[in-house]
Amino acid sequence: MSQTQNEAVISELLAGCIVDLLADYGVDASPVVPPVSPSEMVSVVGFTSGEMRGNLAIAATYDFFESTNVISAQPTEEQVRDWAGELSNQLLGRIKNRLLAYDLVLAMGTPMVITGLRMDVGKRRTGIAERQAYLSSKGSIEAWFEATVESGFVLEKNESAVDLSQSEGDLLFF
């Protein structure tokens, strides 16, 4: 039961966060059944806490990260790699902030961007293994979330903590 519930929470959070994040950058993405286009660039960020540890990755073609780049219409390869890393960083940050409502505080690593041909993720046998794919006018993108969860830990929403995190883009003045 706890495994099913944890997977359901992560699945919902991942789906909501990636669609909203891409929308913030002007990319309307719709879910499709994975796998989609073979990935040429993957950005991976690790995370850890007492209860859950694992990795989040986003994977797409080079063209996807090039065409969605926010700083140049003709970015250099270095700019494309940095953008892929930043996008995965912001996606995990967004999920992390939503998980505060479940009394889970993750510590994040820094992104690692890998390039190659036809990159894919293997099927995980234990823990959470969420794989989602999205189509947009800029191409397709996949998100992979894998985690090991401490035995007995269940992601349950703490209603009193729901509004703890600040919304993306909002400015909080002290």
Binding site: I71, D82, Q90, G93, G169, F174
Partner: protein
Amino acid sequence: MSKKVLVVDDSATVRQQVRLALAQSGFDVVEAVDGVDGQDKISSTPDIKMVICDVNMPRMNGIDMIEAVHATGRHAGLPIVMLTTEGQPALIQRAKAAGAKGWIVKPFKADLLVAAVQKLTA
């Protein structure tokens, strides 16, 4: 003469996004790649009017950087706004206690960022 704003972030994409937003409003942007570099730039660039700073960075994080900068006393009045993926209340409170003036969770809205910079550098 343009007012100088320091942006401290390990992502070149974010530094460039901030540069583009502020340059359009007449600000001059100086960049630093982490907290150590940020501290050096603040020390070596006396006319910096404001700092926009990430939290999670290699070598020195943004909150440690604020604490170190304000601890010297020389830059106690330098306004600093955090621009980060973090939204954890404990971190926000720590930044506030260290002397930060504001907090924005990425991605930022250019108009809000520019308004904040205009207000804090006025």
